[in-house]
């Protein structure tokens, strides 16, 4: 076990890179799609709906392969790392868009009305009143989505990125110590998702406290 651990750790770094990059893409895509669907002009709304339905309706692996194998035919060749981050980020973002939409919808109507009474524009109300409150309800479902993202990063091994899953197969072929290799890789993934859970829970407590403090009266 000790002899292949350094090799596995090199894979962990790639896995973390794809997870972190994918998370950024996912959050941006989700926010953009949710806001477009709620407040955008009709064409933008359709575009966002199509994005969400297509990415939720097809498989993450199909999306990954499509970006990897098909985009070059359109003259767009991206590095496997970029393809991995983009495909998985967009995939998780499509699910996240529904989370954002739900969270914005769960902010009570009175908050909008109060903002209108204060003569805030819709954009101001959204940015300063609605989104900060929606943010707190969003955190737990986003935690689940980030774990889904972490698990989905194992797919990038199939487009030649040497992440944790890729290293596992490689080490397995070289050492044939199958149970040990795959067993420890599963444990590493478990540890990483526990880490995500703990971090998101800390964020949740902080955000809830901030919201309480920010409230008047």
């Amino acid at each position: 076990m000790r002899d292949f651990l350094p090799e596995l750790l090199r894979g962990v770094i790639v896995t973390l890179q794809v997870t972190a990059g994918g998370a950024v893409v996912a959050v941006l895509a989700a926010l953009g799609a949710a806001l477009a669907r709620l407040y955008g002009p009709t064409p933008l709304r359709w575009f966002a709906t199509t994005y969400v339905e297509v990415f939720r309706g097809t498989s993450a692996l199909v999306q990954l392969f499509w970006l990897f194998f098909v985009l070059p035919h359109f003259g767009l060749t991206l590095s496997p790392l970029v393809v991995g981050i983009a495909a998985l980020g967009l995939n998780v973002g499509a699910y996240g868009a529904e989370v954002v939409r739900g969270a914005i919808g769960s902010v009570t109507r009175g908050q909008w009305e109060a903002a209108t009474a204060l003569n805030l524009t819709r954009a101001q109300a959204l940015r300063r009143i609605i989104l900060p409150q929606a943010f707190v309800t969003m955190i737990p479902p986003w935690g689940n989505l980030f774990i889904e993202l972490l698990k989905a990063t194992s797919l990038v091994s199939l487009i030649t990125l040497s992440d944790l899953a890729f290293k596992a197969q490689q080490i397995n072929q070289n050492t044939l110590r199958t149970a040990e290799v795959f067993g420890s890789v599963l444990l590493v993934y478990l540890a990483l998702s526990v880490l995500i859970t703990v971090a998101m829970r800390a964020l949740e407590t902080r955000a809830a406290r901030g919201l309480r403090r920010g409230r008047v009266g």
Binding site: S59, L61, V62, F65, T153, L155, F182, G183, L186, S193
Partner: protein
């Protein structure tokens, strides 16, 4: 050859992909049956088992849910033979899918079981029913119908994960598309067709689940 989309090639690929979709659907249905069964067992173990069963089942469920299906497939495929359990790729894939989604389904069952009011148990004790009879005849029939749509969502999710079976050479849609692509060096048509197949199937089943949900919520035979 340099066309973006070659209809002739797409037509050629279609029958092969249609054939492969039968394997995809077969894997989905078999995997889902395993998931429903395993999920129910997990849920029962976690709710009514003795302490050590609860803890270990809880641990297993969390473990399965926190690790990637891809590695679980590899694990089953490469490690089980070391313990003298050699299974063909399809069976391995079905078991992997079933266990993975069984862990998810067990949470759905748990929610359903927890929603049955405590009074139902108490009434059954008053009627002198045994624990098992109560569970089988009183609790389960009330717990399952409300969670059918949630289980249906996992059927769709499981279906979308079947392309992963291509890594252990199950000849389902994705594997067939990859083979076609590697023969002709054209991946555009087969992979796009696979994507469209998944999209259509998911949209249709999502609509069906919504109808089912409405039916279960509004049906005349609704028990509360």
């Amino acid at each position: 050859m340099n066309k973006l989309w070659d209809w002739a090639y797409a037509w050629e690929a279609l029958p092969l992909l249609a054939e492969a979709s039968v394997i995809t659907i077969k894997a989905t249905l078999m995997g889902f049956v395993v998931a429903l069964t395993v999920g129910l067992l997990f849920a029962i173990g976690r709710m009514v088992g003795p302490m050590w069963v609860r803890w270990s089942v809880g641990g297993v469920v969390e473990f399965i849910r926190s690790t990637p299906l891809l590695i679980q497939i590899f694990f089953l495929y490469y490690v089980m033979p070391e313990f003298g359990l050699t299974m063909d790729a399809m069976l391995t894939g079905v078991i992997a899918l079933g266990l993975h989604y069984g862990a998810y389904c067990s949470e759905v069952y748990r929610a359903g079981l927890a929603n049955v009011p405590k009074g139902q148990w108490e009434a059954s004790i008053a009627l002198n029913l045994s624990n098992w009879t109560t569970f089988k005849n009183v609790i389960l029939p009330q717990a399952i119908p409300p969670v059918v749509p949630a289980l249906g969502n996992y059927l769709v999710a499981l279906f979308k994960e079947t392309p992963l079976l291509s890594v252990i050479a199950v000849l389902e849609l994705m594997q067939t598309a990859k083979i076609l692509g590697s023969e002709t060096f054209r991946y555009v048509e087969p992979i796009t067709l696979v994507g469209i197949f998944f999209l259509v199937f998911s949209l249709v089943s999502a609509a069906l689940i919504r109808r089912l949900e409405r039916h279960l919520n509004a049906g005349p035979g609704r028990r509360t």
